[in-house]
Amino acid sequence: MRFATTMLAAASLLALVGPAFAADAPGVAATEIKIGNTMPYSGPASAYGVIGKGEAAFFKMVNDKGGVAGHKIDFISVDDGYNPAKTVEQVRKLVEQDNVAFLFNTLGTPTNSAIQKYLNVKKIPQLFVATGADKWGEYKQFRWTMGWQPSYRTEAEIYAHYILREKPNAKIAVLYQNDDFGKDYVAGLKDGLGNKYSKMVVKEASYEVTDPTIDSQVVSLQASGADTLVTAATPKFAAQTIRKVYDIGWKPLHFMTNVSISVGSVMVPAGMEKGVGIISATYGKDPTDPTWANDAGMNEWRAFMKKYIPDADLKDANYVYAYGVALTMLHVLEQCKGDFSRENVMKQAADIKNLDIPTLLPGIKVSTSPTNYHPIRQMQLEKWDGKTWVLFGKVMGNAGG
């Protein structure tokens, strides 16, 4: 134990010799603030590890510019392998050993569920958790936990309302990944369709991440006679679904989760002509969408990537996500005006007023208040036309709390 402890302490990049941490602001020294984070750098979810990589690079950029209020950011990100038992261990280490000021963008629903009670009891901010589950906005019960992205449930509700409005006699089929991500969508559809759910949804099919293909599920769903399909799948399976649906000659009204609409990672592999007509809702800009090829906000992101992570895959939307959420964090830190006590950090996080993030869609803002812990609640519908995503309708959901 002693060996591991010593090694980890020695490895801390900005380890100052005997930093004096203020008793009322743990994790904060005169010129440094420590932020803790857990990410799946190993295991089947390691694709999301690049988010941590993006954030580390972002905070390096902030430090290169002088830090925040004279404080450099020590971003300590550790691997939890998407295993909640490991997350508990790592967060305890971050809090009790590394003395971080707070946790930022910890990833995963079960992983965050495992540490939520501990952090709230200890009054440590659990900010901008990287999951779309709906439960991270419960400001009454868990005052110290806050989400960031629009929840999957909100998104599914948007689809449900669209269906009720445009195609009230639809027969709906649902394909979902059998984990918290997929199941949240099903819950959202139930919320959105209300008591019409059992009449309208004629078939649900799930798949496991370890399944090689979803062909069987798609065939079953088509056989149910449905004319509308809602797909809650991660990129690999989404691409397979789009292709299979086209190949078997099924032409449903197809809704695709926002997680899997990347042009480069999903639409191109699936076959760009095969996804024509698919509807999704989004809140951020797709790095591979030609619409944003010359967009100022995305160019800012591209410049950052080129300088700080030059070997990264620019098609990976996770890097865009990391930039957006890290920028939100920076804004909160700047709003703290030097007082980085946990109480104040949480107060400022719950007081974001119409923040404009360059990687979010125009018109979508980040806002929080003591009674609104869903920083981003707006989305806009878009339709795939074979070459790009075309936004339509208005930005939905309300920005304010």
Partner: protein, 290 residues
């Protein structure tokens, strides 16, 4: 009825994927009496090499051939450098080594090629005469390739002196040495051939499931199940086992318990069959006499 047929055919297509990796497992088992858990990762890595070659601009078949050479060489190298020192180690230590190998190769795939999925081209034209709404042209082509590889493997072990030497080396290394079989080289050759078959499996599978570092994860499991179901000491049994697993999964999901318990039920059925026929459906039953 149409839906049923569709499920069965779709199952055969998926089963083809399992069958192709099952062949690589059979090859390594026949050659070394070990089941190599890292086989899937080796196949994935080889497929990445092919992808990179095509990305740089090589035509498909050239990239295919270069990849086969690479996979063969890599298999031999891994055997000589990493696996050979453990020749006399207890079985479970060897398994641990395979697990370590799996982790390393998987991590390397992710580190070199990133985790975003990559489309992989298919050599079979999409509008071929054998395509249908039930089975795409690639799926049909893949089944034929698998059967061709199966025939080659079967012929190799059954009819060639080299194949016989390899089987002998695996079953009885001491006696084999006495009759002049170079046991060490037989093992290396076995690994090389398994790597080669794995690469073919990977390049056939990737167009369907898309290429990412975890491509072969689930497939290896079901390929393993299929190989055991059919009898792991038996090439065509393993292939048949792979097809059966594919169809079983689909039918279980569509008609028995729904997709949420599909995997569980399929595995339970497989275990049930194994309990009744412990060496697999077509495996050689070893009878011990006192």
């Amino acid at each position: 009825m149409q839906a049923f047929l569709h499920q069965v055919l779709s199952g055969i297509a998926t089963g083809g994927i399992y069958a192709s990796i099952a062949l690589a497992l059979v090859m390594i088992y026949q050659a070394t009496n070990h089941v190599n858990f890292a086989q899937g990762e080796m196949a994935t890595f080889s497929t990445y090499i092919a992808w990179k070659l095509i990305d740089i601009g090589f035509p498909y078949w050239i990239a295919f051939l270069i990849t086969l050479v690479f996979a063969f060489a890599a298999g031999v190298a891994i055997e000589r450098v990493i696996v050979r020192p453990f020749y006399k180690a207890p079985v479970l230590s060897v398994v641990a080594v395979f697990i370590g190998l799996l982790l390393i190769i998987n991590a390397l795939s992710g580190a070199f090629f990133s985790y975003t999925i990559k489309p992989f081209p298919s050599p079979f034209p999409t509008d071929a005469w054998y395509a249908s709404p039930y089975l795409s042209s690639h799926e049909v082509g893949m089944i034929f390739v698998t059967l061709a590889v199966l025939a080659a493997v079967f012929a190799f072990f059954r009819f060639t002196p080299l194949g016989l030497a390899m089987r002998a080396a695996a079953e009885n290394p001491v006696s084999s040495r006495l009759v002049g079989v170079r046991v060490g080289w037989m093992l290396a050759l076995g690994w090389g051939l398994a790597g080669l078959i794995g690469a073919v499996a990977g390049m056939m599978t990737a167009p369907i499931v898309y290429l990412d570092p975890y491509m072969m994860f689930g497939i290896l499991l079901y390929g393993f199940a299929g190989a055991l179901l059919g009898g792991i000491d038996n090439a065509w049994g393993a292939v048949l086992g792979g097809f059966i697993v594919g169809v079983l999964q689909n039918l279980a999901g569509a008609y028995l318990v729904g997709t949420e318990l599909m995997v569980t039920v399929a595995l339970v059925i497989i275990i049930g069959i194994l309990v009744v026929k412990p060496s697999g459906l077509f495996g050689r039953t070893i009878v011990t006499r006192v």
